[in-house]
């Protein structure tokens, strides 16, 4: 969903946005650069770095958005990305975005940034929420202590961000150095002496990271520090461990927090605004409640189904496919093509049974677009409300059974939007085992928005029994495979510690931009692939390969799955994009070519079917070609196997939906 990094000319300097997760770095980024990156209300929305630029009195500043961190001592992949940016972009100004409600945690990062010696400006964001809750710290004292500017902002309302821009070019490092006590201080200075003369960030910060046992610095050490110094560093750390135990980072954090607590007490808070009843927080509480949580979840699912399945896939598709395309676009295109293009083959390529307009565009625009459009909108509301992390609380225990924890529900749910993006989001998980399991389950069982919408549209025509059966089978398969994978894949699972953001009313502006950005991304990425898929089918049909392929796959498609031979086409284009395959099935079902049972069998099969090309490429990028190939080799036969099992069982028990 993000374009390539914009080329920035005449850069006067770089500004790195750093801060805790879900404090609004991406909103600030958007305001500074005018570029939109996805903004949501849950920790971990940003997993990749985005770059943009802002102008200040004719000079251009490059702005870098980073994933949120709890500490600059990285504990997960996305945290490491941020720390590495700070290491790799020496000389940059850091704009720390703080959560005004949670200054205690924000200042933990500020202290570390001060130790790194980077020029620093603080944006104390969500000042409105902090004032409303009566916890807004007085910022003058804060500026005095850190000797850097601290600007209160409400980024989503565009308040305060303008004031930051002129401060960036004059930013200076904070001189603040926290005292960690004799023994640790001694080790820090010994460690500092072992570091090379030029370091990308302050030596004190590096020394503390090394003492805390940060093994993610290994590559940097290997390149920049002589082997004997590395040995010496280990000796320094080991001596400190002998003296005070190996919980050094904990002691350091504890000292930082103690200092922050006394600072905050000293600063004092602005007087609270009058409080009304906060309905959003009441909803937030009930959505995690053991009693009300499940009914609320079911209600959310029901509303999503009504909006995407019934309104989007039913009503809107009818209007577009039968109305706009059926009555106007296709006849008009056929009429034009008949009269302007003399070559039969080109005509067929455009408006024939496998034509670019008649098949690719009508699938992409008339069937999939209304479905993904409604889905993106509904999903955006869920993302921005802060409901998604609350789901993690509800399902933590189930996810423990599949070797993950509740946190894994975030990428899984995002997979319902796009499996490709969700595969990137697995970076928020802490161990490789969890990342591999979730990546596999995404590729196997989580239908992306386009596919899901098409599937819901087909199921809603048949009735609730088929929908429940489909959901049950897919969830069952996910749990079964997850359980088995957790036994087979080596490694360990991590602790479930997840920050739950406050429930917020989605901002209409952000919702509109986000939905439009995603629709644009869909059109850009999907339509060309739809066209390519159609051309392949067209060529295959012309050459007679299609019949041949149908014959070859007959034992599977017709024999094992009891589907009409034409469904082979749907599976074939499903290799390119799963939603395209599903759209093919949708078309067949509407034409009355599939019985209810055949719909269920084909949908189960195409849902589990191998991931789309883009998803596959991202799996290779994140997990390596070997893992990706292994997954594909497992998923393909497995999908067919489950489809055949459903087909067989339904026939034996006489279930025809």
């Amino acid at each position: 969903m993000m374009g390539p990094p914009a080329a920035v000319a005449n850069v006067a300097g770089k500004v790195i946005l750093v801060g805790n997760p879900n404090v609004g770095k991406s909103v600030v980024f958007g305001q500074l650069t005018g570029r939109y990156v996805t903004v949501s209300n849950y920790p971990g929305t940003t997993v990749e770095v985005s770059r943009g630029e802002t102008r200040e009195r004719g000079k251009s500043l490059e702005i870098i958005d980073t994933p949120g961190v709890y500490s600059l001592l990285p504990m997960s992949e996305d945290e490491r990305v941020t720390r590495d940016i700070l290491m790799n972009e020496p000389g940059s100004v850091v704009l720390q975005v703080c959560d005004a409600k949670n200054m205690r945690r924000s200042l933990m990062i500020t202290i570390q940034l001060a130790e790194m010696g980077v020029p620093l400006v603080l944006a104390v964001n969500m000042a409105d929420e902090a004032r409303y809750r009566g916890v807004m710290p007085k910022l003058e004292g804060l500026e005095g202590r850190f000797c850097v500017p601290a600007v209160p902002t409400v980024a989503v309302r565009k308040k305060g961000v303008e004031r930051i821009i002129p401060l960036l070019s004059n930013a200076v490092p904070s001189p603040l150095r926290l005292e960690y006590g004799g023994v640790i201080e001694g080790a820090i200075s010994r460690m500092e002496r072992l570091l090379p003369d030029a370091t990308p960030v302050g030596k004190r910060a590096l020394a503390i990271m090394l003492l805390c046992g940060d093994d993610s610095l290994t590559p940097w050490l290997a390149e920049n520090v002589r082997a004997e110094n590395v040995r010496e560093m280990n000796a320094v750390r080991n001596r400190l461990v002998e003296e005070i135990g190996d919980d050094i980072s904990y002691r350091v954090n504890q000292a930082r927090l103690a200092w922050i607590d006394s600072l905050l007490a000293e600063l004092g808070e602005e007087p609270a605004e009058a409080k009304g009843r906060d309905w959003a927080q009441v909803f937030g509480k009930y959505s995690m409640d053991p009693l009300f949580g499940i009914p609320i979840l079911l209600l959310v699912l029901f509303l999503a189904y009504e909006f995407v399945g019934v309104f989007g896939a039913g009503f809107l598709v009818d209007v577009l496919e039968e109305g706009v395309f059926g009555k106007w676009v296709l006849p008009a295109a056929a009429w034009t093509v008949e009269r302007t293009i003399p070559w039969g083959m080109i005509r067929d390529m455009l408006v024939g049974p496998y034509g670019i307009i008649s098949m690719a565009l009508s699938y992409a625009i008339a069937i999939v677009l209304p479905i993904v459009g409604t889905f993106f909108l509904g999903f955006g509301i869920l993302e921005d409300s802060g409901y998604l992390p609350r789901l993690a609380v509800m399902v933590d225990r189930i996810f423990k059974k599949i070797g993950c924890n509740g946190k894994a529900v975030l990428p899984m749910i995002l997979g319902l939007g796009c499996d490709t993006m969700a595969t990137l989001t697995t970076r928020i998980l802490e161990t490789r085992k969890e990342r591999v399991i979730v990546t596999l389950l995404l590729a196997l069982g989580i239908p992306c928005s386009a596919q899901l919408g098409v599937i819901l549209g087909m199921l809603s025509d048949i009735g609730p029994a088929a929908t429940i059966a489909w959901v049950g089978i897919i969830v069952g398969v996910i749990l079964l495979v997850g359980y088995l994978a957790s036994k087979v894949i080596p490694g360990e699972s991590s602790d479930f510690i997840l920050e739950i953001p406050p429930i917020r009313m989605p901002q209409m502006g952000n919702l509109a931009i986000k939905t439009m950005a995603r629709i644009e991304w869909y059109l850009r990425e999907a339509v060309p692939l739809f066209v390519i898929g159609t051309l392949i089918l067209f060529a295959a049909d012309r050459m007679g390969w299609l019949l041949w392929m149908q014959k070859v796959s007959e034992p599977i498609v017709v024999g094992a799955l009891s589907l009409p031979p034409k469904t082979t086409e749907a599976f074939l284009i499903g290799f390119l994009r799963r939603d395209y395959g599903a759209a093919g099935l949708f078309d067949m079902a509407r034409a009355g070519l599939l019985t209810h049972l055949q719909v269920v069998v084909s949908l189960v099969t195409i849902t589990l079917f191998i991931p789309c090309l883009a998803n596959f490429l991202v799996i290779i990028k994140e997990q390596g070609a070997k893992v990706a190939a292994g997954m594909a080799l497992f998923i393909f036969p497995f999908a067919v196997l489950i489809g055949a099992a459903v087909n067989f069982a339904s026939r034996v028990f006489g279930i025809h939906f």
């Binding site: 500490s71 949670n102 190996d246």
Partner: protein, 215 residues
């Protein structure tokens, strides 16, 4: 050191009585003291035990003294076993030392700290102390696991005994360290804490490792 020897004998008499085998021969067989016979004589002379034939009984003052020793010993066992997860040998040898040195005030504090536990880790009853009586109306111990805290009540973290360093780092970066004030919001379907204006969902076993005190 003779006092310690006497204490050990008194303790053993109490334990044997619980087992229903309070005889002089059992006492002599089980004791680890060098001169048990002499110790028994001393205790008898001090009016703490009565002995006739194979029979050994605690007198009223002896009963009182043994009760205090047993109480300290078993409270120490609970402390070392439940709180610090020490192994059996460690617990036993340390508890044996504790029983002699804890003052009355310290014993009561430990008892309150642990929530007036009724039995030791071996399942034997811990004699009640004055603090246990006084506290009748207030059942909650002074220090509890966060997982046992009253829902919605603000508590202060006293100490954390985590399984891994990584977990400790993660908690501390969220501001969860001794001295922090937290509130347990719910226990089902997962544990949810509130710390300042932050809401965090965590595993139960993490909240088991966080010890808190009511504020």
């Amino acid at each position: 050191m003779t006092d310690y020897g006497q204490d050990e004998i008194l303790e053993l008499v109490w334990t044997l009585r619980e087992e229903g085998r309070a005889t002089r021969s059992q006492l002599l067989r089980r004791t680890e003291e060098d001169q048990p016979e002499r110790l028994i004589e001393e205790l008898a002379a001090a009016g703490l035990v009565e002995s006739s034939g194979d029979d050994v009984r605690l007198t009223k003052p002896g009963e009182e003294r043994a009760r205090v020793i047993i109480r300290r010993h078993r409270l120490a066992e609970v402390l070392l076993n439940n709180l610090f997860d020490l192994d059996n040998n460690q617990v036993e040898s340390s508890a044996c030392k504790f029983e002699h040195i804890l003052t009355k005030t310290v014993t009561e504090s430990v008892c309150t700290f642990l929530g007036h536990p009724p039995v030791c880790p071996h399942g034997r009853p811990i004699p009640r102390g004055e603090c246990c009586d006084k506290i009748r109306t207030e059942i909650k111990p002074l220090v509890t696991r966060l997982s046992d805290a009253v829902l919605g009540e603000e508590v202060r973290i006293v100490f954390i005994t985590p399984k891994s360093r990584k977990r400790l780092d993660k908690l501390s970066s969220l501001g969860i360290v001794p001295g922090s004030r937290v509130r347990l919001l719910q226990k089902n379907p997962s544990f949810v804490l509130e710390i300042g204006e932050t809401t965090v969902a965590v595993d139960k076993d993490i909240t088991d490792e966080i010890y808190v005190k009511r504020t």
